[in-house]
């Protein structure tokens, strides 16, 4: 099976017109939309921050200065490491892991319920609608809605005050409660649907068989449902983790005054700082670290790449 043969078969199967279109679309998507932007960012990250006239000039050579900056800080700074940026970087990743786990804990029961009561009539459909409809609203508007709900005179504080559970409004924004809630909510569907898809294909008889053999619900989930749902769980967790670590709008709007998300630093280098190479270097570090975390998690939990695509 050589390449010429492959193309002959491919065009015989799809026809010249459709075959060409599919080929062009896929190549455009992969090369222009995925590979080239990433490569150009990678290229940027290794260049000096130069004013436009000097670009391409003799000073435009490759350098590691932006990566050095992230780790060591500005030359001549007080500390030997870039504590501020690295701290934000670490906190962002920790927070992303936390949000992912929180999401998993909340979404697994919902996905299980939806998958096992399919065809169970109106309630399931209403629940799915309730999950989907909020996503028709713009992400930034949703973040502001959360800000209002969690604000000093927001719905939650007012309710707690009315019932006398608290005497003074709780500052949910400063405590980052609003931020975690907003981030958790933003990607809930990306967690629910992969898990739902897998559990939906689980043979109900397996659950009944386990129950017949005396297993408790905890054991049924631990031994039968969760192992089966593992590909869905890992693909949901991967998406939620990646998107949370890379989120920008929610941290901007919902983050407390002292909390900074690593993406905000990247954003600052690109926009306020106008230092694209440094922003690119920071972004590459974030991307690579996230990929490494995801791959090592997959190895630890014995999930193969092929399973995720299921």
């Amino acid at each position: 099976m050589n390449i010429a043969n492959f193309f002959r078969n491919y065009f015989e199967k799809n026809g010249i017109g459709l075959g060409t279109f599919l080929l062009v679309a896929v190549v455009f998507w992969v090369v222009v939309l995925i590979i080239l932007p990433q490569l150009s960012m990678l290229d940027f990250s290794f260049r000096h921050h130069l004013p436009p006239p000097e670009m391409g000039g003799p000073k435009d050579v490759y350098t590691l200065e932006h990566y050095e900056y992230l780790i060591l800080g500005a030359p001549g700074a007080d500390t030997s490491y870039n504590v501020v940026d690295l701290g934000v970087f670490g906190r962002t990743l920790m927070a992303a892991v936390f949000v992912t786990l929180l999401n998993l804990v909340i979404c697994y029961p919902i996905a299980y319920y939806l998958a096992q009561t399919k065809g169970g009539g109106g309630y399931t459909r209403i629940l799915v609608l309730l999950l989907i409809i909020p996503y028709w609203i713009n992400e930034i508007l949703r973040a502001f809605a959360f800000r209002i709900i969690f604000g000093d005179s927001g719905l939650i504080n007012e309710t707690l005050l009315v019932f006398g559970l608290i005497d003074n409004p709780v500052d949910f924004i400063r405590a980052n409660v609003a931020l975690y809630a907003g981030l958790g909510y933003a990607y809930i569907l990306l967690m629910i649907f992969p898990i739902y898809n897998v559990i939906e294909s689980l043979d109900r008889n397996q659950i009944e068989a386990a129950r017949d053999m005396g297993a408790s619900w905890t054991r049924i989930h631990w031994r039968v449902v969760i192992p089966y749902a593992k590909p869905g769980i890992s693909s949901g967790c991967t998406m939620v983790f990646m998107l949370t670590a890379g989120a920008l709008a929610a941290p901007q709007i919902l983050g407390g005054p002292s909390s900074l998300w690593f993406t905000q630093i990247i954003y600052q280098w690109f926009n306020q700082g106008g230092n694209w190479p440094r922003g690119a270097a920071f972004a590459i570090v974030l991307l690579v670290t996230c990929v490494i975390i995801v791959l090592s998690m997959m190895r630890i939990f014995k999930v193969r790449m092929g399973d995720i695509g299921k």
Binding site: D203, N205, Q206, E208, A209, A210, R211, D212, M213, G214, A215, S216, R219, R223, V224, P227, Y228
Partner: protein, 370 residues
């Protein structure tokens, strides 16, 4: 055989909304018995099984296991084990983990579980296959693993929901024998659900034939086949030629019916109809294809039919001869292949005869739909 525990259904009704799935079932299953529920799909046999296993509670009546009312006991609290139609082996657990899952639930240690798994694997002739995944086994092997898994918890009653239906013919026949042997060895009560009369008749001590939620007859295989209680049982179990008519005369165990198309025919009155059948009642006579013979003497009698051969099917051990009797009445006859010269060539006029004891008369009723 003393290990077995009896199962009794007392006036069990099961309703789903307006739909009555099981109607006043009264079934008494003795301890250590191989008992089958036989019926077409949708007759309520699986519903009964689910009521025994505890996955659903009867709307009325009681399910008793070992004389104890099971109301309020969930499937995990009953001394029953269920083998599912699709087996429902856990695909991600190794064979030995599958088999000993019930012990794992009870908190038995790994070494003890492994030992028990090896014993059971030996019993089902799969020694050394414990570390495989179910997907690496053949259909028959999976079947045996499902049996071992169900037996591992040492249940008092094993419930089987058409477990052989997915196997091919040869394996199915083999598994019948094997299931029967396992049942004799472990001595517990087996309750078997099937729509396949061959399975029910070959394996069971007793069979309950069900129709649309009603138990029509409970009896051993011989009686089910030779002495059906209703027209449904007669037409569902095995094949039968049906002759409709009215009772013309009754003489002891035998009656003569005046059929619309085939004249007067004589047959034995079914046990269930004895005493209740009166002259003039609409009735049906059932004549098995294998009870028909080609008569050597062609004079007319009440156990004879004349018919013309339409066509013939050769099945190997038997010939099925399809005939057209008086006024287009279709008759099927089966002849054992003993290498004889065939007399059933096309268009041949034949006289068939039968032993009146091998045909049965019942009051007219509903037949099994083909």
């Amino acid at each position: 055989m003393s290990k077995g525990v009896g199962v009794d259904l007392e006036d069990v009704c099961i309703r789903f909304g307006d739909f009555v799935a099981v109607r006043e079932a009264n079934v008494s299953i003795k301890g250590g018995e191989f008992f089958s529920f036989l019926g077409p799909s949708g007759c309520g046999k699986t519903t009964i099984l689910r009521a025994v296993s505890g996955f659903l509670e009867p709307s009325e009546g009681r399910v008793m296991i070992g004389g104890k009312d099971m109301a309020g006991f969930g499937p995990n609290k009953r001394p029953t084990a269920l083998i599912f139609q699709n087996l429902a082996l856990f695909p991600l657990m190794k064979v030995w983990e599958n088999i000993t899952f019930s012990l794992e639930v009870q908190g038995v240690g790994k070494a003890a579980r492994r030992k028990r798994a090896d014993e059971l694997l030996e019993m089902i002739a799969l020694t050394g296959q414990g570390d495989k995944l179910p997907s690496e086994l053949s259909g028959g092997q999976k079947q045996r693993v499902a049996i071992a898994r169900a037996l591992c918890a040492e249940p008092d009653v094993l419930l089987l929901d058409e477990p052989l239906s997915a196997l091919d013919l040869k394996l199915r026949q083999h598994m019948r024998t094997e299931l029967r042997e396992i049942q004799k060895r472990v001595g517990i009560t087996f309750i078997y659900i099937t729509h396949d009369q061959g399975e029910a008749l070959t394996m069971s001590d007793n069979v309950a034939v069900m129709r649309a939620g009603i138990v029509d007859q409970i009896s051993d295989g011989h009686s089910i086949y030779n002495d059906p209680a209703t027209p449904f049982v007669a037409s569902f179990v095995g094949e039968n030629n049906v002759f409709r008519g009215k009772v013309k005369s009754i003489n002891g165990d035998h009656a003569v019916i005046d059929t619309n198309r085939s004249g007067d025919l004589v047959a034995r009155i079914a046990t269930s109809a004895k005493g209740s059948l009166n002259i003039g009642d609409p009735a049906m006579m059932f004549l098995r294809p294998e009870a028909c013979k080609i008569a050597t003497d062609t004079s007319a009698a009440q156990n004879r039919l004349t018919a013309k051969v339409l066509h013939e099917e050769f099945e190997g051990q038997i010939y099925n001869v399809f005939l057209e009797g008086a006024q287009g009445k279709e008759i099927k006859m089966s002849l054992v292949n003993v290498g004889q010269e065939r007399q059933s060539k096309h268009s041949n006029e034949l006289t068939l005869e039968y032993n009146p004891d091998q045909a049965v008369i019942l009051p007219a009723g509903e037949l099994a739909s083909e």
